[in-house]
């Protein structure tokens, strides 16, 4: 069953001439983990906002086509109803923090309070999510007195605790070190394995290749490519459109031209794939 169904979506922000998204089609199944790649300005964030209902409900502007999430049409729903099904983790975690709470613990509880979740249910959910995102030691700190990486984990936790059917993340690991990045990808992968539908905008293509089920490459508001990570991320069209390409892909492509990578072998995106192709036995 498709949880996200986008048909022929064209969207323009108010007072702009060029649409940010053009004739976009996307269906995402329950429990699927879809990554969106593309250069800055390609429409990744706008697509995240659209699935999360901020487009058009918060940003206004003109939306054509159909956007359905969890069986509801965005044009026929309010943002208040929408957020019950969909959670958005912002690109800049600072923008997501409510400003109404003085500790991380209270910040995490803010969404649940607004939904009227009873205290005895709230407490275990908060503890579970803090453990999952490795922020238990931050519970009593001010959400504003944190490093970028810590803030990013709090922003993720504050959405996960809502247990949305659909989780949308806009570059959720941009301020994390490599271990933190791996942990966050693993948490998100586990969420998707347990049935949560995930859409994530991300530049770090090696991580996308290792964790996502499917990849959508956007360029200038249009779908450039869609398919498995291996297909999309090694496509020779990507660099021409400014989409990030893994260094492993680039080195293998250069090696092919010099006869050091077998023509028939698919290009690698991850270290393990590159190692396999370059190890002496197969060369």
């Amino acid at each position: 069953m498709a949880v996200i169904e986008i048909r022929d979506l064209t969207y323009s922000y108010p007072l702009t001439e060029q649409p940010a998204l053009k004739h976009l089609n996307l269906q995402v199944e329950k429990g699927e983990f879809v990554a969106i790649v593309g250069p800055n300005g390609a429409g990744k964030s706008t697509l995240c906002y659209t699935i999360a209902g901020f487009v058009p409900h918060f940003f206004r502007g003109e939306l054509q086509g159909t956007v359905r999430v969890a069986g509801k049409d965005t044009q026929e729903s309010s943002l208040n109803q929408w957020v019950l099904n969909v959670g958005l983790v912002f690109q800049n975690p600072f923008n997501q923090i409510s400003g109404a709470k003085v500790t991380v613990y209270e910040e995490l509880a803010f969404g649940l309070e607004n939904l009227g979740v009873p205290r005895e249910e709230m407490v275990p959910r908060l503890e579970e999510v803090m453990q999952l995102t490795d922020i238990e030691d931050l519970a009593d700190r001010s959400p504003y007195a944190l490093s970028g990486g810590q803030q990013q984990r709090v922003a993720l936790a504050s959405i996960l605790v809502m247990q949305p059917q659909v989780l949308v993340l806009d570059e959720p690991t941009s301020q994390l070190d490599p271990i933190g990045t791996r942990e966050v990808f693993q948490v998100i992968k586990n969420m998707s394995a347990s049935g949560m539908t995930v859409v994530m905008a991300e530049h770090k293509v090696e991580w996308v290749a290792a964790f996502a089920d499917r990849v959508v490459a956007l360029s200038e508001g249009e779908t450039l490519l869609m398919g498995t990570p291996g297909e999309v991320l090694t496509d020779p069209e990507l660099p021409k459109h400014g989409v990030n390409v893994s260094r492993y892909t680039r080195v293998a492509r250069a090696a092919t031209a010099q006869g050091l990578w077998p023509q028939e072998r698919p290009l690698p995106v991850t270290l393990d794939e590159a190692l396999e192709g370059f190890s002496r036995e197969s060369a």
Binding site: N40, G148, Q175, L176, D177, G242, R247, R250, L260, S279
Partner: protein, 276 residues
């Protein structure tokens, strides 16, 4: 301009010991990348260079100035600091006004301000956006405005805190070019970054920090091969370096060309020395 750090310790009012005794010197015109896990103390360290933080113990000299004896406003003429989040430093109505704030505050003559602003806008590819409100730009370009506004202050030392965060391939290349140009002008360029590939591409010295101390301080090509030390502070070697090391290449490589040259040479060694 030389920066000398001696037995530097710093504790936040909360009691968190962020820096636990650092000593090293940054020579004029160096290209230094500082890496390390979240919370390692990287940002705390560089905030001592422009006096935003003052040592709990030890001292920092910027040129001949002890940062304990000079204000942030004064140190701003020697050390420029580009914040990780551009929104923390932008407030003017147009890009051009924003970029002119720094050099004006330093009291430069009007012609010099104009020349510096023009150069900074050209270097950051913002010439066509000079009349735009910074907040009408995408986060990518706001970051460029933040950089331009510090570059225009023409300080001998410039610090970029996580410059490549959330940037695409083209933008990372532009930022790398800015680093190279500033360095060719003789400036000391320092970056804090999680992007070890960016560090290896554009910087010559590597310092890895962990839990408030320096774990590693070496020329880039030697530093990136110290996989164990880097792992202790959650940093992986650059991607191509890792590939070369896993394949057992005889030399440390960090870019495609060096990798392919070295790889080809190992293939042609026939039979491999250990089987001869």
């Amino acid at each position: 301009m030389r920066i000398e750090i001696q037995n530097l310790e710093f504790s936040y009012p909360s009691g968190v010991e962020a820096l636990r005794g650092l000593s090293f010197t940054i020579m004029p015109g160096e290209k230094l990348a500082i890496v390390g896990q979240n919370g390692a103390g990287k940002t705390t360290l560089v905030k001592h260079f422009n006096g935003l933080l003052k040592p709990t113990n030890g001292w920092v000299l910027v040129g001949d100035w002890d940062t304990r004896e000079h204000t942030v406003a004064k140190l701003a003429s020697r050390v420029g600091y580009v914040y990780q989040n551009p929104d923390e430093q932008l407030f003017s109505r147009t890009v051009e006004q924003e970029v002119a704030v720094g050099p004006k505050n330093l009291g430069y003559a009007q012609e010099r301000v104009q020349a510096l602003v023009a150069d900074a806008l050209a270097l950051t590819h913002l010439v066509d956006q000079r009349q735009t409100n910074p907040y009408d730009l995408s986060p990518t370009w706001r970051k460029m405005v933040a950089m331009a506004s510090i570059i225009a202050m023409d300080t001998p030392v410039i610090i970029f805190d996580e410059p490549t965060t959330g940037q695409d391939a083209n933008s990372v290349a532009r930022i790398g070019e800015i680093v190279d140009v500033l360095n060719r002008q003789g400036k000391t360029v320092i970056t804090i970054t999680h992007d070890i590939d960016f560090a290896a591409d554009h910087f010559e010295r590597l310092i890895a920090m962990g839990q408030g101390i320096v774990l590693l301080d070496s020329p880039m090509l030697e530093g990136i091969a110290q996989e164990k030390i880097l792992a202790a502070t959650y940093v992986d070697p650059p991607q191509i370096t890792r590939l070369g090391m896993r394949l057992g290449l005889p030399k440390i490589v960090k870019d495609t060309q060096a990798f392919l040259d070295t790889y080809r040479r190992t293939l042609s060694e026939d039979p491999p020395p250990n089987r001869a």
